[in-house]
Amino acid sequence: MIFGVTRVVNFAHGSFFMLGAYMAWTILQHLPRDPLSFAAGILLAAGAVGLVGVVVEVLLLRRIYRAAELFQLLATFGVVLIVQEAALFIWGPEDHTLSRPRWLRGAFDIFGERFPLWDLYLVFVGPVVLAGLWLLFTRTRFGILVRAATEDREMVAALGVDQKFLFTAVFALGAALAGLGGALALPAGSANLQMDLAIIAEAFVVVVVGGLGSVPGAYLAALLIAEIQAFGIVLMPKITLVGVFLVMALVLAVRPYGLLGKPPPPERGRDPLPVLRPTPRWLGMAGFAALAVLAALPAVAGAYTLSLAIEIACLTLFAASLHFMMGPGGIVSFGHAAFFGLGAYAAALATRWLAAPMELGLLASPLLAGLFGAAFGALVVRLSGVYLAMLTLAFAQIVWATSFQWVEVTGGDNGILGVWPASWARDKAAFWWLALGLSAGGVFVLRRMIFSPFGYAMRAVRDSPLRAAAIGIRAGHVQWAAFTVAALFAGLSGGLYAYAKGSVFPTYVAIPKSVDALMMVLLGGVQTVAGPVVGAAAWMGLSDLLVRFIEFWRLALGAAIIALVLLFPHGIAGAAQQRLMRDA
């Protein structure tokens, strides 16, 4: 609903789910334990989350509806961090489980299997909510307006409908439903701080498979995915997510807009993107000067600063690889960490199982990531914008789950330790030069490609697919190549990072890593070639400062993200560029 009407990809939806569970826990503690109060408490929790939704919409989203899609995504990720901190502060770090009231503890016998009563209730809640929404959408004026806005919001605005109210109401309703989901999940599980990011990837998959903006589609897809997971656990317990992913790939290959989705309405009135001018001489010189200064860093910096600098160098290359496909390529990824992680694991596995030296490991990293990028890219580049972005997130979650669950090979949560650099690079200063060289070299190659005919072809496909086809450019091939190149360089950065840290963990593939990359690119400015370099330094510096000096660092980080999105809608380097080069 929220995406259909407002076109905002809401990362914070998982947070609403989590809040629903926590609020239900608190509310149900204070209510009598009869069935009616219990139901009322759950609805109350959903309503409370709806109110939080109103606050988020009015204070934040309303100001950024006109901003680029990704800025909205980032702003909502800021909300994720703030809600996490708030939940930690209010409810503490421990999981909260609800002792079920007596009337809920019963169970049925179905074919000799015990079936909890609560699960039976849940079976009916879904259809009831769906029926309620269906009535709302077909029988009320509000519902008809929502459907109209899903199809063509400009037209609805032109007809004089109060957009502000409509958007707020839809967002609140969507948040309340997420809260209801969380509250309903509480009795069978617990309220915990991992719920938000755990559910959001699944939610994205369901929405994409069902078709963006289609509520019945979402319901159908939720059933389908849940069944696959349920049977998957029985048939192939280790790879349930892989099964889900395969089904999703199958659905989208046949119906690229999801089960019940329609092609998105044409976008209108987007500002044309800026022209890429050749680098001015002074900027190139400044780049070389900065490189020279950085090379001299070990002479002045201590061990900690050097470690941080190495980390920044790795992540700069990571950000540059994402920028390559996002900026000129126009392909947005929410899960670029998949390739970073694949690169890191390639190095670690080569070390652990083949006792390969670092030089070989650093070759394996981009190779493995590039291979997976080529295979996955072939599957998804035909999809349009947000669909593709959500699928990349799902792919990253699968890589993450594999690294987490395949304990025999990857060590699971304990990771792989002892991924040490070659003896000549053991010294911090030597490794810094290696990292700086590879990172700067990689960034230079990517930059060179952006200004090459191939890079221009990427922008051509992004700007006007129609014209690109008319002058003989095969959009699919160009985008696939861009995706593969981006994966390759992300893999190299991941491999480098693995040797820098000496170990590899599933967190390298987790959502926050993907968000790091997005933050760095967007902070720097998507349409600025120097952007990812500036963005990586700014983001890493900021995170490091906040984590070290501020107790509530997530809150501060979230607030900082939101402030940056509101202040610099074109990124830092983008803002600087606008100042320096007003249209030549």
């Binding site: 800026p274 090459s452 003989g472």
Partner: protein, 252 residues
Amino acid sequence: MTLLRVEGLVKSFGGVRAVHDVSFSVGGGERVAIIGPNGAGKSTCFNMLNGQLRPDAGRVFLDERDVTRMPPEAKFRAGIGRTFQITATFASQTVAENVQMALLSFAGRLWNPWRRAHTASRDQAVALLERVGLVPQAHRAAGVLAYGDLKRLELAIALANAPRLLLMDEPTAGMAPSERAALMTLVSGIVAESGISVLFTEHDMDVVFGHADRVLVLNRGELIFAGTGEGARADEQVRAVYLGSGVTSGGH
């Protein structure tokens, strides 16, 4: 000599027959206009010729080679250039770079990941811009051009593959009357100079009668007239369609 031959083209959308059994041909160096009221099937016809739509039946031959099922990318290589009703250019590239892209693509040099694109095929691009009078704008972003200039840019891009056939979908739509005459005079000059053929749709009858050697009239998906401009003006059926006899609707 026949350059383009169209045989029995058919396309339906759901139950609507948008184009029904349309056949015609375009000779070398000929300028042919497709006209007809809104909804007559002009754009559908056009989109089948350039490969955006697949016909349900019928065939298209370019120089006696069957190109019916070629996608747009391949038609570009086969020697068809095209301009769009609503201009489609690369907004984030300069005017010259837009033309360079078409030149590089035609030369098969687009996959080069290392060379500087900004200077590649620059002279050729400037030469094409010279033909359409856009050299003074070469350094500006295509995204900030005035509409008339965008139409000229499209023409320059469409000429980059040295086409034998130029497809122009409403080349003067949205332009001021004086601009229209100038653009079509430019097109006619290029045709006279290089001997390429032009097939265009158009609503402005002055443009049609002034710049088309032959006129095809479509109504409700069927070809009702093919002949000279004078002939079209004299034809009873065409007059009925355009003046509105009560049988037809939506004329101009």
